[in-house]
C-alpha cells in the first residue's frame, strides 16, 4: 500500500464536529424546543402576492409567518442554529402556449408541474437534480391542479407550472433524533403552500378554473404536556413539525370551497389509535380530512384577497 508519508492527511471519511457536554446541557434541552403558541385551530399568517416575476404569464410568492420562537430567536439570537423555519416559495406559470410541432394532438391542456427545493432551502443541502421526494410533490401538485383547471378550453396547448421552494419546513425539530413516528411531515406543509401559490399564479395568468383551489394541513399530535403514558392526541391545524415532539398522522388536501370538493388528498401515518376529544366520535382519518379542509378554507380567504389585489393592480395600470 502506498502510504503518503509526507503529508498529514485527514481521515478518509468525514468527521463530525466535537460536541461538548457543557453545550449539550445548555443547548439541546427540551426547553429550547419551539413551542406552539397558537390555538389548535389557529392558522399561521400567510403572505401571498401575485405578479412579482414579470417574464412569466403568471406568478406568485408565498410566505408563512415565522413561528414565535423563530421570531424571538431572530431578534435575540442565542445560537447560530435557528429553532425552526418558515415556508417561502415562488411559483411561476408559463402558458398557455402551443405544444411543440412534434407532439401528438391533445384535446385538453397539457399540464406540467415541476417542484424544486433550492439547494439552500432545507437544513440538509438538496442537489440540483430533483430527488424522488420532489418529483412526488410535483405529481401531487399536478393532481390537485388538474381537477381545478378547465382543461378542454385550451386544446393543443401546454401549461408549465414551476415552484421553487426557497425555505422549506423542517420535518422535525432539528435537535431531536428521528424516531419511530418520523416521516417527512414538512413536505406536507410544502405541498399545501405549493397548491395555494400555484392557484394564485394560475389566476394571475388568467386561466379558467372551476374555483380557486387552496391547500390545507391538519395533523394528529401526541400531547406530551401530561406525564400520563397513554397521552391524548389532539387535532391541530397548520402544524409546524418543529413545534411538536411526535406527529402521529397528518393530512393535506387541495380543496375547492365553492364546490365543496377535494381534488388532492394525501394522508399518512396511523390515525386509528387516536382518541379525539370527548363527544367527538369521528374516526381519526375523517377528523383529519375535516381539519385539513378547515385549514384550506382559511387559506382560501387569503388567496381570494391576493387575487383581488392583483386584479385591482391590473385595472389601475390600464
Amino acid at each position: 500500500m502506498m502510504a503518503d508519508r509526507r503529508r498529514v492527511n485527514g481521515p478518509p471519511s468525514g468527521t463530525r464536529p466535537a460536541v461538548f457536554t457543557a453545550d449539550l446541557q445548555l443547548g439541546a434541552s427540551a426547553t429550547d424546543r419551539a413551542q406552539r403558541q397558537r390555538q389548535p385551530s389557529e392558522l399561521r399568517k400567510i403572505f401571498l402576492k401575485t405578479g412579482l416575476i414579470p417574464t412569466a404569464s403568471g406568478s406568485s410568492y408565498l410566505e408563512f409567518e415565522p413561528s414565535a420562537s423563530l421570531a424571538a430567536a431572530r431578534a435575540n439570537p442565542k445560537s447560530l442554529i435557528p429553532p425552526s423555519s418558515a415556508l417561502k416559495l415562488a411559483c411561476t406559470v408559463h402558458g398557455p402556449k402551443p405544444l411543440p410541432r412534434s407532439a401528438a394532438f391533445s384535446p385538453n391542456i397539457v399540464l406540467t408541474t415541476h417542484v424544486k427545493y433550492a439547494p439552500f432551502a432545507a437544513r440538509q443541502r438538496k442537489g440540483h437534480i430533483r430527488d424522488s421526494g420532489e418529483r412526488d410533490l410535483g405529481v401531487h401538485l399536478e393532481t390537485a391542479l388538474r381537477g381545478a383547471i378547465i382543461a378542454e378550453r385550451w386544446p393543443k396547448s401546454g401549461l408549465d407550472i414551476t415552484v421553487t421552494i426557497l425555505e422549506a419546513e423542517d420535518d422535525r425539530w432539528w435537535g431531536s433524533a428521528p424516531d419511530s413516528h418520523d416521516a417527512s411531515w414538512g413536505m406536507m406543509n410544502v405541498l399545501a403552500g405549493c397548491i395555494t401559490a400555484a392557484s394564485a399564479a394560475i389566476a394571475d395568468a388568467h386561466i379558467d378554473c372551476l374555483d380557486l383551489i387552496a391547500g390545507g394541513v391538519a395533523a394528529l399530535v401526541a400531547d406530551e404536556s401530561g406525564n400520563s403514558a397513554a397521552g391524548t392526541t389532539k387535532l391541530m391545524l397548520d402544524t409546524d413539525p418543529a413545534e411538536h415532539r411526535s406527529i402521529l398522522s397528518a393530512c393535506v388536501v387541495g380543496y375547492m370551497p365553492a364546490r365543496d370538493e377535494i381534488t388532492e388528498l394525501w394522508l399518512k401515518g396511523d390515525s386509528s389509535k387516536a382518541s379525539l376529544e370527548e363527544g367527538d366520535d369521528r374516526s381519526g382519518h375523517d377528523a383529519l380530512i375535516d381539519g385539513a379542509v378547515d385549514a384550506a378554507r382559511g387559506a382560501h380567504t387569503v388567496l381570494a384577497e391576493a387575487v383581488r389585489e392583483s386584479l385591482l393592480r391590473i385595472v389601475g395600470q390600464s
Binding site: 421526494g133 399536478e142 388538474r146 419511530s180 365543496d260 377535494i262 388528498l265 401515518g269
Partner: protein
C-alpha cells in the same frame, strides 16, 4: 412523448371513444348494481396466480400474474450497514456511560429506525426511472411500509418495519425492494405491484443473529434457522420463531388497494377500461397488527383520474352534421347529482373537479369495515403458502 407527459400519476390516456366511455360509465354507475365489463362484483379482485421464493439470490421474492397476462416480480435484498449516530444519541450514551449494558432491550427499542433504510425501485416497461408513474408508485408503497408502527409492545415489531431493521445501536439492515413489471402496464399497475411486494416481504428471511448487544453483528450461516422479517404465526412455522420472540406477532406488511368511485358505486381493483371512467381514484394502504383483525389505515392518496384527459362527446343538438335532424328537446342537459355537472345522458363529458368528502369517507369505510374488502384481501394473501 406527449402521451408520456400526459400519463402522470395515472396510467396512460385511455384510447376509448366518447361513446365507449359513456357506455362504460352508464353501466358502472347503475345504482346499487354496477355491471363491470368482466362480470365481477364491485369488490371482487381479478383472479391471480402467486408464488414465492422464486429467486434464490434474494432474501425474499414473489411473483404474481393476473389472468390478463400482466406479471410482476419482486426481489428483496438486505445488507448490513453502519448506523450514522446523531449527536443526541451520542450524548445520551455518554450520560449513561458507566453502565452501558443495564437495559439492553429498552435502548435498542429507543433507537428507532430510519425511513431511508428501505429503498424501493420500480421498473415499468416503457417508462423511465424518473417518470411520474414509477416515482409516485414507489413513494406511495414505501411510505406505507415505513410508516407502519407496531403497537404490540412485546413483539419484535414494536417500531414497525423500521424498528425491525435495527440490529443494535451501531448497525442496521438496509432493505432493497426491487419491483419489476414484466408486461406492459395494461391496467394501472398499483394493485399488482402492491400485492407482489407484500408477498415478497412475507417470504423475506434475515440470517439469525449470533452476536449479542452492541458487538459487531455476527450471523449464523445456517440458512435454515434464518428468521422471517415479518415473524410468522401460522402453525407450520410457529415453532421456529417461538424461540426468538416471546409470542407470535401478527404484524403484516401493508397492502395498497386501488379504489374508484363511479356515480354512487365504489369499485375495487379496476381494470384499464373501468379506471378510464372513474370519478375519483384513491389508493388506500392498510395493514393488520393484531390477531383480532383490527385493520389500520396507513395512508390515502388521490390518484389523478384518467377520465380528466379523455375527449368529450358532442350531443346531437350541438352537432352541425345533425342540424335539423333532431328535435331540440331530444337531449336536454340534466344535472348529474354525483358530479354536480350538467350533462346530456349518454354523451361523455370528461370529469372536472374533485371528489366530495362523503364519497371519500364512504370509500375508506368500505375498505376498513369489519368483514370488508381489506380483511378479505389480507386473508387471501395469508393463504398463499410461503415456503
Amino acid at each position: 412523448m406527449s402521451n408520456q407527459r400526459q400519463a402522470s400519476s395515472a396510467s396512460q390516456v385511455p384510447h376509448l371513444s366518447p361513446a365507449e366511455l359513456s357506455y362504460l360509465y352508464t353501466s358502472l354507475s347503475l345504482p346499487k348494481t354496477p355491471i363491470r365489463p368482466d362480470g365481477r362484483s364491485p369488490t371482487q379482485f381479478r383472479p391471480l396466480t402467486a408464488e414465492t421464493n422464486i429467486l434464490p439470490g434474494t432474501n425474499g421474492s414473489a411473483r404474481i400474474g393476473f389472468a390478463d397476462g400482466t406479471q410482476a416480480i419482486v426481489g428483496v435484498k438486505a445488507e448490513v450497514e453502519k448506523t450514522i449516530l446523531s449527536n443526541e444519541t451520542l450524548a445520551s450514551e455518554r450520560g449513561a456511560g458507566p453502565e452501558p449494558t443495564d437495559q439492553e432491550g429498552s435502548t435498542t427499542a429507543a433507537v428507532g429506525g430510519h425511513g431511508s433504510w428501505v429503498q424501493m425501485s420500480i421498473e415499468i416497461p416503457g417508462f423511465r426511472d424518473d417518470d411520474a408513474l414509477p416515482v409516485f408508485l414507489s413513494e406511495m408503497m414505501r411510505e406505507s411500509l415505513v410508516g407502519a408502527v407496531g403497537t404490540d409492545e412485546n413483539s419484535d415489531m414494536t417500531g414497525g418495519l423500521k424498528g425491525r431493521l435495527v440490529i443494535n445501536k451501531r448497525w442496521h439492515w438496509r432493505l432493497y425492494i426491487d419491483v419489476l413489471l414484466l408486461s406492459q402496464p395494461l391496467a394501472y399497475p398499483l394493485p399488482l405491484l402492491s400485492l407482489t411486494t407484500h408477498l415478497a416481504l412475507l417470504s423475506t428471511k434475515l440470517p439469525k443473529l449470533k452476536s449479542q448487544g452492541e458487538e459487531d453483528p455476527f450471523f449464523d450461516d445456517d440458512w435454515a434457522v434464518a428468521e422471517y422479517l415479518y415473524p410468522r404465526s401460522s402453525p407450520s412455522t410457529g415453532a421456529k420463531i417461538s424461540s426468538s420472540s416471546s409470542r407470535p406477532s401478527f404484524v403484516r406488511p401493508p397492502v395498497t388497494l386501488l379504489v374508484i368511485s363511479v356515480g354512487e358505486n365504489i369499485i375495487f381493483d379496476p381494470n384499464r377500461e373501468e379506471i378510464a371512467v372513474a370519478d375519483a381514484v384513491l389508493a388506500i394502504s392498510i395493514t393488520r397488527d393484531t390477531q383480532a383483525g383490527h385493520l389500520r389505515l396507513l395512508s390515502i392518496r388521490t390518484v389523478d383520474p384518467p377520465s380528466r384527459l379523455t375527449q368529450p362527446g358532442v350531443p346531437n343538438s350541438e352537432n352541425v352534421n345533425m342540424l335539423g335532424a333532431v328535435a331540440p328537446t331530444d337531449d336536454i342537459a340534466v344535472l348529474n347529482p354525483v358530479t354536480g355537472e350538467e350533462e346530456v345522458p349518454g354523451v361523455w363529458r370528461p370529469r372536472r373537479g374533485g371528489a366530495k368528502r362523503s364519497v371519500i369517507s364512504e370509500m375508506v369505510k368500505t375498505v376498513l369495515k369489519k368483514g370488508g374488502v381489506g380483511e378479505e384481501v389480507l386473508e387471501g394473501l395469508e393463504g398463499v403458502e410461503v415456503s
